[in-house]
Structure formats: structure tokens, C-alpha cells
């Protein structure tokens, strides 16, 4: 899969990470040299035990944490000057929708990204309507965020990012805490989205159904990277890194 030789990089890889390291202020090493390339249109699962560094990697890709090493997004090295522009092309959905949905109403939350991107008001309204319909949330605009079910909150959280029309979606545990029906609904909706995706998850059925490529992280390193079918059939690998088959 990642059989890329030097000088043969795909044109404009969405995400390209070389030798990425990150240490938290308390001294905990979260990432110890990550190499990862994601091509446009790819849908990649990021799996591994708790503390493997999945969420940290997503935060760095969204420009919210600064690691050491090389991070290139859409061919440009990520730096302080282009970070705001990059964030509009890369949408990060946090694990806890109560962190993601910080406005009183669904409308305010979905409109937040477009509004801060400086779009005119009619365009903001159009984007909100479109993003809500993408997630099957027509008629939810005036609802209060704290009145939503967990499943609805998770879908609204994705809509808040879709309204920015990002090219890449970074999803952190999109199905955690959902009952089977809400989970099915969400997977169905995610399957319809054309964006490049990097999904950190423990949900191996989600991985099997939605994401053709899987990257296994453990201890801050990439320990496997390949087609999902291959990785999920490698029992030794799964067991060694605390994963289970779907």
C-alpha cells in the first residue's frame, strides 16, 4: 500500500507526515516518529489501544498542537502563517460532541465555521441548510444542543465541520457511545460523504465497512499500514496491539 518510492510522491497528497514526534508538557511521549501519507479520496482508519497517540495525531493535523517533524498538508508545510487557511480545508470532529457543539442552538453551531471564514450571510445560511441535509438533520436548525440525543449530537458535530466544506475529515471516535441504531445511521451517512477521511476509532466493524485502508498505531509509532482486509485477517497483529476482529 504505502509502496511509495522516493521522488514518486502522489501529486498533492492531502496529508503527509514524516518523523512526527510529540511530547506532552508533563513528559508523556505521545508520538515517537510517525510516517503517514494520505492521498486525496482515501478513507483511512487509525486504530490502536488507548494512549496509542491517535487523538494527538489528529490534533496536530488540525494545527492545534505543534509536534516536531514534518507535517505537510496539500503539499504545503503546515506553519503559523497558513494554519488558519488549512483548518478550513481540514475538518476535525472531536470525540465528545459536547466539546464540539459549544453554541446554544444547532444553527449557531453549524454556522460557526462559515461565519468565521467571513462568508456573506446568505452563503452562511445556504451552507447550514446543506450541511444539515447531508447528515439527515433537516428541521434541526432551531433545536437546542442540550436537548439532542447522543446520536443526534454526533451527527450535528459532523455537520458543523461539513458546513466549512473541508477536503479532509478527521473524525475522532465517531461511533463511541452510540446505540446500534444511531450507529448504523451514522455509518450510513458517513459512507455517502466524498471527502478524504482519517478516522480514529475502536469500532472495528466501522473500519471493516467504511475504511479500505487501516493504520495501526501503538506506543506512538505506526506498527502496521495496509488494506483493511489484510490487517483484519492478521490475528497475531490484532492480538499484539489489543485489537479485536469485527
Amino acid at each position: 500500500m504505502s509502496a511509495l518510492r522516493e521522488g514518486e510522491r502522489p501529486m498533492e497528497a492531502c496529508v503527509e507526515v514524516r518523523g512526527l514526534r510529540f511530547t506532552y508538557p508533563d513528559g508523556r511521549e505521545a508520538l515517537r516518529g510517525i510516517d503517514l501519507t494520505v492521498a486525496p479520496g482515501e478513507k483511512v482508519a487509525l486504530v490502536g489501544p488507548n494512549g496509542a497517540g491517535k487523538s494527538t495525531l489528529l490534533l496536530i493535523l488540525a494545527g492545534l498542537l505543534h509536534g516536531e517533524g514534518e507535517v505537510r498538508l496539500f503539499g504545503e508545510p503546515l506553519d503559523d502563517r497558513n494554519v488558519k487557511r488549512m483548518r478550513s480545508r481540514i475538518g476535525l470532529v472531536f470525540q465528545d460532541p459536547d466539546d464540539q457543539l459549544f453554541s446554544p442552538t444547532v444553527f449557531d453551531d453549524v454556522a460557526y465555521g462559515p461565519l468565521y471564514a467571513g462568508l456573506p450571510e446568505e452563503e452562511v445560511n445556504r451552507r447550514v441548510a446543506w450541511a444539515l441535509s447531508q447528515m439527515g438533520l433537516e428541521g434541526f436548525a432551531e433545536r437546542l444542543s442540550h436537548h439532542l440525543s447522543v446520536g443526534e449530537k454526533k451527527r450535528v458535530a459532523v455537520a458543523t465541520v461539513l458546513s466549512m466544506r473541508p477536503e479532509v475529515l478527521l473524525l475522532d471516535e465517531p461511533t463511541s457511545g452510540l446505540d446500534p441504531r444511531a450507529r448504523r445511521r451514522l455509518i450510513g451517512l458517513l459512507a455517502e460523504l466524498p471527502q478524504t477521511m482519517l478516522v480514529a476509532t475502536h469500532d472495528m466493524r466501522l473500519v471493516a465497512e467504511l475504511l479500505p485502508r487501516t493504520v495501526v498505531l501503538d506506543g506512538g509509532r505506526v506498527v502496521a499500514d495496509g488494506p483493511t482486509a489484510e490487517i483484519l485477517s492478521d490475528e497475531h497483529l490484532l492480538e499484539a496491539h489489543g485489537l479485536e476482529r469485527p
Binding site: L59, A62, L64, K84, R87, S88, G91, L92, F94, D96, D98, D99, Q100, L101, F102, S103, P104, T105, D108, A111, Y112, G113, L115, Y116, A117, E121, V124, N125, E142, L144, S145, H146, H147, T160, V161, M164
Partner: protein, 262 residues
């Protein structure tokens, strides 16, 4: 039982619900100001104002009883004014023996006490109606439109959003404590001081969780382009009905005040 019970909004489509939040905020403020400016013993004016509140309540269809029940929350405070009954100079109505001496209740004292109660009860009914017929997010943009500092309104918005999340966490902590305490009514063990300190520890844990949450929220805001400014869509313009109702009710309140102060 759910934490949503905290929300005092009562959904509906009545004319009162549909009135522009800016107009509602202004009229509520004007109503309370009128009650405060009316002199004592203007029972007629107080009566007309009560009529206005009851009429609005009927129009809003949130239920007379519901409004009255919620309005009762201010009553315990009335005892702060009880002393006015025997501390205001005036014609003595009754003398009551008390601790070897006597307390004399004066006519002007009683009038003062009842006027305070009337003003207070009128005001709180208006405030209850405002909260029951206006979703809080609408009040927020109403406040912004009325030129309150935008960062302050934004902070109030966050408070409102996370009040429910954190109140839920507080509820879970209380449940966990109750599940572990032996006494059936939650009396728990230990001294009062010990119980207070344990409550303090719970508050400490809640603080740490809240603080960490605020950091994650800040990141979620940055991820969507937050730059330290407060941006919102411009509010819709007032409909003719809003102007008419605002002017009409405002005018009536002005007349009541004029009548009361003449």
C-alpha cells in the same frame, strides 16, 4: 427526572411567543420599571398591571397556574420586608406584646409592606412570562441587539450551553455519593464539617473537569476559525406587529405611571 427541567422555556406558537425578543425584553424591563416607580398605595394602578400580566399569560397559553407557581419563588424574600410593618413611623393600628415590650404595627408600615409585595409579585410574573415564552438563545441575540457588551453576551451563551452539561455531571456525582452513603435520606456519616469538605472535594473535581473541558472547547473553536472576535449573523428586522405591540403596551405602561403619580 431530567436536567432539562431546569429550562423554564415553555414551547408554543402564541402571539406572545412570536413577539420579537428585543421588544419582549424592553417591555418586560419597562413593566418592572413602572411597578418600581409607582408610589405606594396605588392599588388601582397595581391592579391594572396585574390585569395586564394575566391577559398576557392567557394569550401566551403557558398556563396561569404555571406562572403563579414559578412566581412564588420570590415570596420567601418577603420576610426581609416584614420589619417595615413595625419600623415605619405612622398611625398605630395594633400593638402586639413582644418579649416584655410591645411592637406597634403602623398603617403606613402595612401599606409599605403590601406595596413592596405588589411590586415584587408583578415584576416576577413579568420575568417568568419572558422566560417561559422566549427561548434563551433568542434572549441572547436580543441582548446583543440592545447593545450589551458582545463578549459578555457570548460568555452568558457558553454558561447557558454548559450549564446543562455540568449540571448533569454534578447530578451523577450526587447520585454516586448517595449510592454509597448508608443513611437512606442522604444524611451520610461524619460531622457537618466533614460533609461540607467532601462537598468541597466534589466541587474541586467538577472544577478540574470543567477547566479541561474549556480547553477542549477552545481547541474546537480554533479548529473552526475562532480568532477572538465575536461574530454573529445580523438580527432580523422588526415586523410591523412588533412595532405596534411595543408602542401599544409601552404607551399603556406610560399611562399607568402617569395616572399613579398624578
Amino acid at each position: 427526572m431530567h436536567i432539562h427541567a431546569l429550562d423554564s422555556y415553555c414551547p408554543g406558537t402564541s402571539p406572545v411567543h412570536r413577539l420579537d425578543p428585543r421588544v419582549k425584553l424592553l417591555l418586560t424591563g419597562l413593566f418592572i420599571l413602572t411597578a418600581a416607580l409607582l408610589p405606594e398605595r396605588e392599588w388601582g394602578a397595581f391592579g391594572v398591571m396585574e390585569g395586564l400580566v394575566l391577559l398576557t399569560t392567557l394569550l401566551s397559553r403557558v398556563g396561569l397556574l404555571r406562572v403563579q407557581r414559578r412566581s412564588a419563588v420570590a415570596l420567601p424574600f418577603a420576610l426581609a420586608a416584614v420589619t417595615a410593618v413595625f419600623a415605619t413611623p405612622g398611625r398605630v393600628l395594633w400593638t402586639v406584646p413582644f418579649l416584655g415590650g410591645t411592637l406597634s404595627i403602623t398603617e403606613s408600615g402595612v401599606v409599605r409592606f403590601l406595596s413592596i409585595l405588589a411590586r415584587s409579585y408583578l415584576s416576577i410574573q413579568a420575568a417568568v412570562l419572558l422566560a417561559a415564552t422566549t427561548p434563551f438563545p433568542d434572549l441572547l441575540w436580543g441582548m446583543r441587539a440592545l447593545r450589551l457588551p458582545r463578549p459578555l453576551v457570548a460568555i452568558v451563551g457558553f454558561l447557558y450551553r454548559y450549564l446543562f452539561v455540568l449540571a448533569d455531571e454534578a447530578r451523577r456525582m450526587l447520585q454516586a455519593r448517595e449510592a454509597r452513603s448508608a443513611a437512606p435520606d442522604g444524611r451520610g456519616g461524619g460531622t457537618v464539617a466533614w460533609r461540607a469538605r467532601v462537598t468541597g472535594s466534589m466541587a474541586g473535581i467538577l472544577f478540574l473537569r470543567s477547566y479541561e473541558r474549556s480547553e477542549r472547547i477552545y481547541m474546537a473553536m480554533l479548529a473552526r476559525g475562532y480568532d477572538g472576535t465575536v461574530r454573529t449573523l445580523s438580527p432580523p428586522s422588526l415586523r410591523p406587529t412588533d412595532w405596534i405591540v411595543g408602542a401599544l403596551v409601552g404607551g399603556v405602561l406610560g399611562l399607568i405611571l402617569l395616572w399613579g403619580r398624578m
